[in-house]
Symmetry: C3
Subunit: 246 residues, 3 copies
Amino acid sequence: MIRRIAPDVPIVDVTHGIVRHGIRHGALVLAASLPYMPVGVHVAVVDPQVGSERRAVAVRCADGRLLVGPDNGVLSLAWDRPGGAVEAIDISRSPHRLEPVSATFHGRDLFAPVAAHLAAGAELAEAGDPIDAGGLVVLELPSARVEGGEAVAHALVVDRFGNVALDLRHEHLLELGLTLGSRVSVEGPGGRREGTVVQTFADVPPGELLLYEDAWDAVALAINRGDAAADLALRPDDELRIAPAT
Amino acid sequence: MIRRIAPDVPIVDVTHGIVRHGIRHGALVLAASLPYMPVGVHVAVVDPQVGSERRAVAVRCADGRLLVGPDNGVLSLAWDRPGGAVEAIDISRSPHRLEPVSATFHGRDLFAPVAAHLAAGAELAEAGDPIDAGGLVVLELPSARVEGGEAVAHALVVDRFGNVALDLRHEHLLELGLTLGSRVSVEGPGGRREGTVVQTFADVPPGELLLYEDAWDAVALAINRGDAAADLALRPDDELRIAPAT
Amino acid sequence: MIRRIAPDVPIVDVTHGIVRHGIRHGALVLAASLPYMPVGVHVAVVDPQVGSERRAVAVRCADGRLLVGPDNGVLSLAWDRPGGAVEAIDISRSPHRLEPVSATFHGRDLFAPVAAHLAAGAELAEAGDPIDAGGLVVLELPSARVEGGEAVAHALVVDRFGNVALDLRHEHLLELGLTLGSRVSVEGPGGRREGTVVQTFADVPPGELLLYEDAWDAVALAINRGDAAADLALRPDDELRIAPAT
């Protein structure tokens, strides 16, 4: 659809690997990818409510990026940066949509056509009806806290290797006194296990648990050449208790 | 291969998700995708008989599209539209082929090179030997019928979410007196179940069965946030009996 | 990343289907694909030692291709052709790298940026520090031998269909007296089975074992419409004994 409307616009296909109905997964991947991509029109569709009353939106970020997708939170982490969302348009009845819009495939009939017209130079304001950017749906993420010498953290997203990104940041590790080489205790739904705080997988032997800062500055759990999520029985939102091993 | 022969031709990679040996699956996806794509050269390769006597063909449609692939039916639903196939060429010994042609990878050695030359402007007539378009292999699909107040329908294709497209159309639903909101009985190999005729997934609670018109105008079965094919033990060609719930 | 640095460079995405940590799998796929691709900059990242002391390299081949990736053997089969590697650069501290380089995602922060700059015209010599091409890590593959009227061969790579490429070549078959139509005995970890030497899948009935030369000139095992690797319990490096059936 994009090619038909905007034949000369370069298209970058970031991923088709978002888990089904994974609004948060999509939101996290979109937000993590954008800083490495050229400024452009970015479409993200994880849309379990397609065809219902949920709005379809196009949003302009302070840095000039345009985001297009359902107003269910999947875009919200991507504008949650300095400047935020500076303009929002309800595109549900966009003049750019493909008529008739099917009830179940807005990626094809609505989001891709609107994005293509925007990429080809159409004005955002003419893509639909202006709405208050402050009223857009924002995704709530769990939030780690440090109490009594341990961090109560949560699994945010599990990648296809079984590596688990947490809602922990470097500052939490410092607060716990955890530095490179520290032994760490990790207690989750599947029991307690010990690992090591390191920089990368190869810093521990195969089969051992590591706690590291991943390539998007989140603290993450992995097992070198293994599957941490399976091993620790971890799923998104699960709570973990992380502390220096005694 | 295409890039080497025709470096400036834009390439759209529609899918690598066709089930193994799924000639019908490939044919249905190709036919469903074409109306949304720019007119061009369209290659489709699902080819369990590769290397045997099955012909390799290039076909011109009435609307100007060129189809390239094995003559096993995978292309046939794509030209089955007004005007049909207006010219057919046997490309098995095409001058555009890559010599030596391997016995098992005609996608690389035959279909892609021929398509690339056509996309770069080569004449269809010079891609091989003319054949009678009427003699091309045509895929036979099951055909739903309404009898005694119920529809005898068939599963045509199951997508990766477990949604099941049927050989039913809007007219069949009308004939059965089924409209939006109607309760419907669905009996298949895995037993009988009730659902609702709706427009989209979100119109029923999670876990409930819905009958809806999908984005390609086929009537389809799904379970909101579930897997209808697994739940109903449905595979392509399976017969279903569909009627108003009593 | 490539698009940001080199917006006008065409990108061909060969595969994301290499098995996890499959350095050999990646090396074989890269070497098998290159002869069919335009000469260019070719990035391959299978990198279980990312962040450790393993070097990151860019290598010029005699035919002008540039290879970029970790120095762990994944590139080595691709330059193992006439002329070999004629120039090698350690890019670990390349001026083209994205600062800060993450410890776990050199594909994004190092390999893609270096490749993009090279594709955009940067000099290889300026991408890092020159090293001796003779000191690059070279992948060791198993090697088939014929003894006592049978071939002792090894599974090299298993594709997603369960077809198994061996370290056998046409010459080995000749030495064993195996020609098209010969019946052949195949003994592996999962037991002994008979099959037929043929050109292509369709030359045997569904469910039967075939030995054939695949599209990259390796002798391979398959089951028509089946999964030879699963059926024979074969994994890479497993030993097989292949001989004319008696």
